[in-house]
């Protein structure tokens, strides 16, 4: 069945809080310069001080994952020119935010209180802070957004799903604009122990996606937020268009609770769907921001998926992983990587896969080892990228992003 003509959806604002610092440009500038943010086997937002950005009341009414989201959203709305006033009827502006886990720090802290002091010591703020939808609720409250407001939860694919869902909400007319992205703050004892006990975390604490020596992911934290608008409305208000979300593809592996399908069929199909949604082919793709977790299974399966989806172009298109610089931000990853990709396309630069030195047999793509490279584009008029996000549960999402 041919797809009906859908409105274009543009990115007019971006914001990020990542282990490389606060700010979308901090992420882009530092990653492309080869900086990474690991300490003691993790990538914390070490310099993030909530009350630098939020009032005391706002800060204590938000789990750390929500604080990251709120700060990223402030930057995104400023960059969209929305800081003083919303450009549309608030009921026509939605918010879709992704998270893998939600407020796990709040959950653990209150469980400690329950165990140590009993039920009456559990905070009345426990539920509103830990609930996985706290992020979208907080952004709605802070910015007065009254359209469709909800969060999506799909492990490490949540950021990608959120952006894709936001795009569809605009295309279907449910909203004129959607504030979207993802946030995560899971550097907590239970989360660490749980990921470690399933052997997902790197025991050496080194994130080196696609390298033969990779031994697991390194957990990071943070958030990214994008302002998406109906293209026609954005142009009518004279907005600066940062990028276009050209396509969205989402599939499920139906293979295993945590392991990706080693053949990469589901990931490949997500990429092909995103390209078809964009009306583009592999010949049009200039860069791939990989999911690239630094686990044995993901990086091998993703390489297989890229070869299926991109065919003869797979070896020519630069593929790099943001996780080599900031670790794995779980439900925030897809959003942070979309924000990184938009800036990479804008500057025509392929950011590096840091720590990549030793190829594995059969994994022979251009992983942009260690140093950023100028991006060669198939067209003089635009740069186009795919950004992959895959999650435990077999969730696969690909976004197709384009900048002028």
């Amino acid at each position: 069945m041919p797809r009906r003509e859908l409105p274009d959806v543009v990115v007019t604002g971006i914001g990020a809080v990542t282990p490389l610092g606060v700010g979308a440009s901090t992420l882009h500038d530092r990653w492309t310069a080869g900086a990474s943010a690991f300490r003691d086997g993790e990538a914390p937002c070490a310099d993030f001080e909530p009350t630098d950005h939020l009032s005391m009341k706002e800060a204590r009414r938000a789990d750390r994952f929500t604080q990251f989201g709120v700060v990223a959203s402030d930057e995104a709305l400023r960059s969209a020119g929305w800081a003083d006033e919303l450009p549309y009827d608030p009921f026509r502006i939605g918010c879709v935010l992704g998270t893998g886990i939600g407020g796990i720090g709040t959950l653990e802290g209150n469980h400690d209180k329950l165990r140590d002091k009993g039920a009456r010591d559990v905070s009345p703020l426990a539920i509103p802070l830990m609930m996985s939808n706290a992020g979208s609720a907080a952004l709605s409250l802070r910015h007065g957004l009254k359209g469709p407001i909800f969060s999506v939860v799909s492990a490490c694919a949540a950021g990608g799903h959120a952006i894709g869902t936001a795009m569809r909400a605009i295309q279907c007319g449910d909203a004129q604009a959607v504030v979207t992205g993802g946030s995560e703050a899971a550097l907590t004892p239970l989360s660490r122990a749980s990921f470690a006990s399933m052997s997902a975390l790197s025991p050496t604490g080194v994130s080196r996606p696609f390298d033969n020596r990779r031994d697991g992911f390194v957990m990071g934290e943070g958030a990214a937020v994008l302002v998406l608008e109906d293209g026609e409305s954005a142009r009518a208000r004279g907005a600066t268009i940062l990028a276009t979300v050209r396509g969205y593809g989402a599939t499920g592996d139906a293979h295993h609770l945590t392991a990706p399908d080693s053949e990469g069929a589901g990931g490949a199909r997500a990429m092909m769907l995103a390209m078809a949604d964009a009306g583009l082919t592999a010949a049009d793709i200039d860069y791939v921001n990989a999911h690239g977790t630094s686990t044995q299974l993901n990086d091998r399966a993703e390489t297989a998926a890229l070869k299926i989806a991109l065919g003869d172009y797979a070896r020519k298109i630069p593929v790099s992983s943001t996780k080599s610089a900031i670790g794995h931000l779980l439900g925030a990853a897809g959003a942070v990587e979309a924000v990184a990709t938009v800036q990479a396309l804008r500057d025509r630069i392929s950011p590096p896969t840091l720590g990549y030195d030793e190829p594995e047999d059969g994994m022979d793509l251009d992983y942009v080892p260690n140093f950023a490279q100028p991006m060669t584009t198939a067209s003089d008029e635009r740069a186009v990228a795919l950004s992959n996000s895959f999650g435990f549960g077999g969730h696969n999402v690909t976004l197709c992003l384009e900048t002028a």
Partner: protein, 82 residues
């Protein structure tokens, strides 16, 4: 009820409200919850602290009549004395 106890109760209430984000200079006996941006979630937290420190329960119906900082201090003081 001794002055010391009343002072302790005042102290509990004021310090809690400051923790919730109310400005010290705005916390007066006559200040309403709205005026210092204290909502139902803050009051639930206040009730926890008060029970912890003074053994006084502030529950559903009690809260309906407590609309200012002074109301809260008086309520706790009276209940503690009872």
């Amino acid at each position: 009820m001794s002055t010391t106890t009343t002072n302790e109760i005042e102290n509990t209430v004021i310090e809690s409200l400051k923790t919730f984000g109310a400005k010290a200079e705005d916390i007066t006996r006559d200040a309403t919850w709205e005026a210092i941006d204290v909502d139902s979630l803050d009051l639930a937290e206040l009730a926890q602290v008060v029970e912890d420190e003074h053994g006084v329960k502030m529950e559903g119906d009690d809260m309906k009549h407590i609309k200012t900082v002074g109301d809260a201090i008086d309520f706790i003081t009276e209940k503690k004395a009872a």
